[in-house]
Amino acid sequence: MQPKVIGKVTATERKPTSFNALRFWLADDEEIRIFDVIRIRHIKDSYTYAIIKDLQHITDSAGHLASFVSSDFGDVAAEPINPRMGTTIAEAEVLYNSKNIEMPVRDAALVETADVEGVRTALGLVGFRRPIPAGYISMSYGAEVPIEFESSYILGPEGAHLNIAGISGLATKTSYAMFLLNSIQQRMGQDASMILFNVKGSDLLAIDEDPLQPLSERQIAEWSKCGLEPRPFQNVRYLYPYAERRQANGYSNTSAPRQILEKQQREGRAQNFYYDVDTMKEKMRLLLADVDDPNSTIESIYDEVRDLPASSWDAFREEISRRAQRGQQAGSKVTVQSWRKFNRFVQTRTANPFFAEMALTSQDERRQALVANAVRQLKPGSILVIDIEPLPDYLQCLVVGDVTSTIRNIKLGEDEDVDPSDVGRVIIFADELNKYAPKTDSGGRSLTSILLEVTERGRSLGVILLGAEQFRSAVHDRILGNCSTNVYGRTSPVEMAKCPDYRYFPESHRASITRLEKGSLLLQHAVFKTHLIKVQFPFPCYYKEDVEQ
């Protein structure tokens, strides 16, 4: 595409150009958008590239009253024969100069549409060692520029973790996360394994199946623009909550489509997770992760629970009930009141059928697996999808905490059964991150502590958290602070007012976030030479019910 002159720089006494910013007027018949990249002819035959931050139309009208007067003093039917003189002024942030000149661009310098290679250089997208496609920029003048992340800033060791925030249903958080994971699988191959938690219907329960309706040519072209193949995920295993009694879905408590589940079971890619008593004695903190315990009364019970003689769930619950009775705390330092509180939680929170023992019969049908064991089987290049959608919040926290701590232990070499190098880099995708690491938690919750440790040490350990949530303001600051890449989907103005992270965005960018269309997101990546880039990404390419094409 040949560069086309679209305007000229304007430097005035009040609004001069600087090494960092410039303004230009736009020719009447040209159209540009916020986040477009343009180039300006500068001294020494160089080009300065800049990204549009704001657009304003100005006229020579001295005020609103002049407009009123110009319509015959408020006659709405008046049709002025003289158009008022006006122009669109674009404000742009300087990104780069082709000859590394940092002088401000000059008044009346020509502004042109930019070339793709120039845009990529200007945005800092060249020289990546292992680029991971992250979408593409669609300029208003027709140019399409593929955007990549540098893998060492997503998967470590330079930086790690990615967070996606935005309104449910409109921000396309999950779709983008899945695109990015697909991109990582296609580009990083055997270097990374992934654990995905399914929290919405059957969204992620058939990610290795072809879409219900084949992608259109346009949708396929979107994948090509990113340099990727439109294909579902590969090498995926699924873990469903165990149902003690046989149901239509076998022993799986899930909303996965029946034919899909049967296929996964046939191919040996589906298991049902459960927690036996011995496992849970060790993980009791995770079960009560959301319970306020200001005086650490329950905390002191965990050690005693570990030594309880019960080896079945019935026996365990009976033993706890017994201790909750007056005069039954012989040898215990814990008061009866604390046991009673603990008893109430245990009775209610272990009622789910996946708190079960290993079955002695029909083991092939039941496909039981401990979560930790399933995680230990993870191999580089493989994906484990864990369905926690049917579970209440506190059980979701249990599973997420169990998985994360298991990975952490493996990576720290504290798991005797697995060599850390066998797992490769592990990406954990957790939607609704605010549930697991809420902002209000000062760090005392066991699950928050695990996630904090993962995000703070993850880039060197090779554990990557890919989190998503509706409200950034509801997520723990230190988790967000450790993310080297942030993605912003459509967000409400109320959330932007509440969350300090948005405070430093330019006004125009804040306005832009509130009206981002589906399939468009703003990216912030450590390597980019600008704060935010607006990208589009391809339509998901895996089986999903109720998809609007």
């Binding site: 009447d28 020579d60 009208s61 001295a62 005020g63 009253l65 002049a66 407009s67 007067v69 110009s70 319509s71 015959d72 003093f73 008046a78 049709e79 002025p80 024969i81 003289n82 158009p83 008022r84 003189m85």
Partner: protein, 365 residues
């Protein structure tokens, strides 16, 4: 770079003659007086064919879809400065400099924009010397020296010193006369290229009062499609004769929006000019009875018109199209907004944005 005053002193080396610096003053303190105070001839007779039956004539509405017959707008603008004093033959006379610009803009109605017609736009710098300083030949030599030394081209003018007139006014008038020459040249050039048509008329800002037109070889027929529209006029100017003689202010203050006066005849260098007044805006919205009224002038270009007056239908049509020019306005940006036709305002701004700043221009001296 050598300053122009130094160049003048270096060039004109005569005993008793010296160019002296002064506090430089921008002389445009009353930018509109050229119209308000212009000297006009008597306008005693009606000059319309047929003469209207009443003292006011209504202007019909024109539907918005009808293309305007007015396409071009011409404006001249100048900035004048007293940049020095000349000690010559015992007199202490001002040296007046000016930046002059003339612009023609075309309204491209289909594209809703204005385009300056650069072939007909001109910008020039001028210095007006008292005629006692040097001969015209000396002026040419001095002009060349200034250009060679400073890199700036100046048109050197001579103003005639008169005992009863302020020499500053005389110098300024010389610069304005130079501007009028440039305006006239623009009209001539446009006409040469046959751009001016009955459906593509030119509105010139200000009265149609050019001196020595005939002597320059210009044909008045070129002014057939040129209208002079003045934003202000002298309200005490008398029109009519006998018992019907009245001041313009008395006639126009009673006009309603869209009404015009009959056409009056006036003469300039023996040429017949028809002039009439049109109210562009609702009087009740104006701050004084004469606000919102424009004066329009049009040459009578052939013998029939000179004898019988301007065609009434044509005057009414022109008035109707000029009435449409009332919106949009420069309200709030220019005190003359009520009568300042917007495309003329655009042309004026185009000129002003092309001139050097006062500081930079004065620094040349």
């Amino acid at each position: 770079m050598q300053r122009i005053i130094e160049v003048i002193n270096d060039t004109i080396k005569r005993p008793g003659v010296e160019c002296l610096p002064c506090d430089r003053v921008n002389l445009d303190y009353d930018r509109h007086r050229e119209y308000a105070e212009s000297e006009e001839h008597q306008a005693t007779d009606l000059f319309e064919n047929p003469n209207p039956k009443h003292s006011t004539v209504d202007t019909p509405d024109i539907h918005g879809s009808v293309p305007s017959i007015i396409r071009y707008f011409l404006d001249g603008s100048r900035r004048t400065y007293k940049i020095g004093d000349l000690l010559v033959k015992g007199r202490y006379l001002p040296l007046i400099a000016g930046q002059v610009g003339v612009a023609v803009v075309e309204r491209q109605q289909s594209r809703r924009r204005y385009v300056p017609l650069r072939d007909f736009c001109s910008f020039a710098n001028a210095i007006a010397f008292p005629d006692q300083l040097a001969s015209p030949e000396d002026m040419v030599a001095l002009g060349e020296k200034i250009e060679k030394t400073t890199g700036n081209r100046f048109k050197l003018l001579r103003y005639k010193v008169k005992p009863d007139r302020d020499p500053v006014d005389l110098g300024v008038a010389k610069v304005m006369s130079f501007m009028a020459d440039l305006e006239l040249q623009a009209v001539h050039d446009m006409s040469e290229k046959q751009l001016l048509q009955t459906n593509a008329m030119l509105v010139k800002d200000g009265p149609l009062r050019y001196k020595n037109v005939r002597g320059r070889g210009f044909d008045f027929l070129q002014f057939r499609n040129v209208l002079g529209v003045s934003k202000t006029f002298r309200s005490s100017f008398p029109v009519g004769s006998g018992r019907r003689k009245k001041d313009v202010g008395a006639i126009t203050s009673g006009l309603f929006m869209g009404e015009r006066t009959p056409v009056f005849k006036t003469l300039e260098e023996g040429r017949h000019i028809g002039m009439w007044y049109l109210r562009l805006r609702q009087p009740e919205k104006m701050s004084n009875p004469l606000q919102g009224i424009i004066k329009i002038e049009c040459y009578a270009v052939d013998r029939i018109e000179e004898q019988q007056g301007l065609d009434a239908d044509r005057i009414t049509t022109i008035s109707a199209h000029l009435l449409r020019e009332r919106n949009v306005t420069a309200y709030g940006a220019d005190k003359r907004w009520a009568t300042h036709l917007y495309p003329v305002y655009v042309a004026e701004n185009f000129i002003k944005s092309s001139l050097l700043s006062d500081v930079r221009f004065e620094a040349l001296f």
